[in-house]
Symmetry: D2
Subunit: 343 residues, 4 copies
């Protein structure tokens, strides 16, 4: 009963096969290979737009490199105070941007909204050298608490970004999970809604270690290539990363995997509705369930072998825990979890 | 009627004289001179404690170098969201710490309090490589809005810092103004209250360009010397900076200057009480007055030659403005300002 | 006939099998898995010493993180002017060390020697804040030009390092190739010869993307863990990297692969002895052959499908080219290459 | 007999007077004052070209900020291996450029020449992400060893810079000394010879603490303003720095001061010609004399109160020492020094 992270699960068989198929003969290194060359067309097709795609091996690298490319050292990035870049990446963005400022904002269900951003902007005078200059908004899709941004919400934030000369970045570590729920075209919640750069995640959803930074305009790419190399993120045998991404997109695999993870999460949420003292903290819209449980229930589950994170310290006999599902989470694990939770 | 900043005023005559007295013969450069050598003893006497003193020429340098010395790149610094290091130094701390995270927190009257800090700490798990590690609390004395921290408030924050393995930094750009109001010994609101390092300001209060980083324990100094040099802040003719600091402390000059600035601010606050529609936004405890004024009153004052900053954008016919007084602000300016404000 | 780089070849079957074997069930993420846990013991056995092992996915990351851990921002690193960290990593070390200085020195056959280092040290006064402080020597084994350091040479450099308070780093991107030639125990050319930290390469020699930073003393590890995370180099599904390293070391695979690559290079060197106008530029001691060829010979080879790098711009009708062999280079390619070179 | 550094001397009276004259009334802070506003026109007149002038308080700041503005993090800067930015600024350029690479080159009399630069360029392939990209040449005028670049030498280096897409930076900490010797217009050895940015020094030549970064094209200024602030180098009471620069340029003061320092150095060199065992190491073209002295002569001088630096460690009974003269060095000191040296 592993609900700790989607990262605890392995590699989808289709992706594994593609990696192995790539292990033939020789090819150029450092991304000049034939598989990487095909990615641009593949992603452009998926996003119905000419895109610029750069594989890396971690979400932290994708986020930090994408933002460093768009934000100057004297810039500021507005994000949710609980977002991954703010609290879970050890300050990678501050390092890679050479000291740009992350402004952490509070917002319901792990999300930003235009009014929240506008209030924060009042503290930073445009063009004044004293103030870090707001240069980007960064949102996360799906959020850290399992909610998702709808198209209109993204477009509204993009409107604030554009009106203030900022770029919009989307941390899509669980992009497929959000998309599977929304059921729309990838373009609808990215460039058509004003997203400038996307950290496109695959690792959590069945890849071995493969993410892609996707720019939607050539002018935004700037010196990304140098930044990736200078930070040690240009893989010499890149083809094995690119092969993962290619297989991930092939024949809708990424959405099948995400849909399965989402469905398991929905079952978990449904089951928890019948558990005494269990209260969902946020809407369950992707593959994460944040739920308040009585401490004794949580203890009983752990004793029975369930693994999961406490999301907040215990308070008044209850703890907010996080349950994450994956493409490979056994359905039986959900049934067992709920049975034990019911005591 | 210049109330824009204490930085708009010049150099106190006693300090000017000392700089000129230093212009005799030769001396060693880069801080190895005789005047700089005397500072340690002088500051140690003032603080009733052996201290380690490093002159620099700007408050931004003092804050960023002090914090970079105490906080690792993977660290986090908790401060008020409106503090000078957070919004007025263009991200200098993020640069000098090589990407440590500033966590901006809200708090009444520009101040932090233990509960605010403790809530924020919950987001950063100690010892987890994923989370920036809270390494320092930074407070500002007097605050950006003219309030001051009392000894007990500082000690309480220091308690939280120590309980969590963090250091306590005080941005004392207006330290003399706070001290003049409190009327206590410098030690009482610094090391005796748990402050580890102080950015000791003199520029705003009558120096030409002189601040000092004051460490209260030798072990905290670490590689400060290299950091100051590497950032271009080791003055070759340091003696002229040190001479300012020496004169500033001599015969209580610093407190006389600050007391005068504070008295002018108090007169301003008192006068504003009689102005229609004027409402003080914060207690006036040092040399800054933040007051909501009707927009027509503000416009009338500006037309008559008064200069001051809008602190927030206008809203509903009123604007929050900031008035700063200095050791050299003419008393007549206050009288004129109030007279014009009354219309 | 691909002699461009060992990176152009794929993954050794034994390593591929190990990765797939790791794709079972769930395990903890971010290096807390069972395979990664076994690496410490395995490497300690190989090196006959308790070591501290940190997998990463690129040699650039290994070098930059290792050096940043041992060298302060105000430090200097002495290395060969043509070394990988100096010219082939886009300044990653300068970035990760937050601005430490690389001092590039010339030396025969791509190697440093004590006298070269000592001459350079004279420019940097110990303890003076003006001078970057020499903090590490970095050598590369095998070198960029295919030569290797013998045990005595390493020990001599280590002696200079220790006498001057510096650490000794070894970039072992082709460590196995050097070791295969030397035929000694890994300990002999690392910690017993005074090496403090080793970038242990596997990617070029048959892994998919797996390197390890190996510290030989616990005290040197310092904040490495945070640095790896902050730079985006902590893989979430680390077990798939660790599995590569484990298989690489198993049953002497690493040395078998390296020996084969070295043997191919030796055949190439031997064949070139019979080619008109061909002159080896350096001793061929590992899997690289640097040879001056008449431009017409090089052109004929390229026309016939051989791929390789020009190492220097053409001069006087001849060009210095680099030929790299791998564990998987077909013997037939060597025969063909020599045949065509002979014209 | 202080020949240790021109920094050991104080402030020229004309400059002191100007600082004091600036201490009247109020003015805007952070460089928005009236004196700073006049600098642009003044410098443009001096350089016979529209220039963009930014005062700072140290040469290290001027150099590091100028280069960081023109060189990206993935860039490389070619300079003499013994230049101030390479060995005397604790790696400030590496910090401020966020990890650009300094490539230190050897050259006679502390100078670079086109062939030296071109040889170095061969190691860095243009447009390859693996190689730091050569982005600037930095020369120093006068050099660290007291020689100067003539117009043609500068133009030749500028030619190499332009042909390779690089900028040319001049560290003019002792620019006035070089100019006084050359007797040409400032334009001749700066923009007319292809210099893009000049660190214009005044501190060593009679100011208290005042340097200026001078750009010769608006497009090169880029984000300099933010970089100066973010590094703590934007003085709040800037007018007192600008007043120094204004007085320095007024009525040819800068050249008078430099000429006097140069003349003293020439007397020193002349006198040393008559000292047994004294050999000048470099031509004396500005205000520095590097001379090999027998160790017993150096000891005798020190015993008699002379202060100066050893430039290299003693070897074979002799030491290379550096003697620096200033606008205020008493002529009598030279006579005494030579008398004692003669024994």
């Amino acid at each position: 009963m592993n609900f700790r992270s989607d990262n605890c699960y392995g590699v989808a068989p289709e992706i594994a096969d593609a990696v192995w198929a790539a292990n033939q003969g020789t090819d150029s290194s450092y991304g000049d290979d034939r598989i990487t060359a095909r990615l641009k067309a593949r992603f452009s097709e998926i996003f119905d737009h000419e895109v610029y795609v750069y594989p890396v091996i971690s979400g932290t690298a994708a986020n930090a490199l994408a933002l460093a490319t768009l934000v100057p050292p004297h810039g500021a990035i507005l994000c949710h105070a609980g977002s991954h870049i703010a609290v879970d990446e050890c300050g990678a963005v501050e390092l890679f941007t050479h000291g740009a400022k992350l402004v952490g904002l509070e917002g319901a269900n792990g999300k930003l909204a235009p009014a929240i951003v506008e209030t924060a902007l009042a503290r930073f005078e445009k063009g004044s050298v004293h103030h870090p200059q707001p240069s980007a908004i960064s949102i996360i899709q799906a959020t850290e608490v399992g909610s998702i941004y709808h198209r209109g919400e993204i477009a509204a934030l993009s409107g604030v970004a554009r009106a203030n000369g900022m770029k919009l970045h989307m941390d899509g570590a669980r992009f497929a999970n959000a998309l599977a729920t929304l059921g729309c075209a990838p373009a609808e919640i990215t460039w058509r809604a004003g997203v400038d750069v996307l950290s496109f995640g695959a690792t959590k959803n069945g890849a071995m270690g493969a993410e892609a930074v996707v720019f939607f305009a050539k002018g935004d790419v700037r010196d990304f290539d140098y930044r990736r190399k200078k930070s040690g993120h240009l893989m010499s045998k890149m083809r094995f990363v690119s092969a993962q991404l290619e297989a991930y997109l092939d024949d809708g695999l990424w959405l099948k995997l995400a849909s399965r993870a989402n469905a398991i999460a929905a079952q978990l949420a449904e089951g928890l509705a019948g558990v005494d003292g269990a209260n969902l903290a946020h809407p369950v819209e992707a593959n994460e369930v944040l739920v308040h449980l009585p401490d004794e229930t949580a203890a009983r589950l752990r004793k029975a072998g369930a693994v999961f994170y406490d999301w907040e310290p215990p308070r008044a006999g209850r703890t907010l825990i996080r349950l994450v599902t994956s493409f490979a989470t056994p359905a039986q694990d959900v049934a067992n979890f709920i049975r034990i939770a019911k005591g």
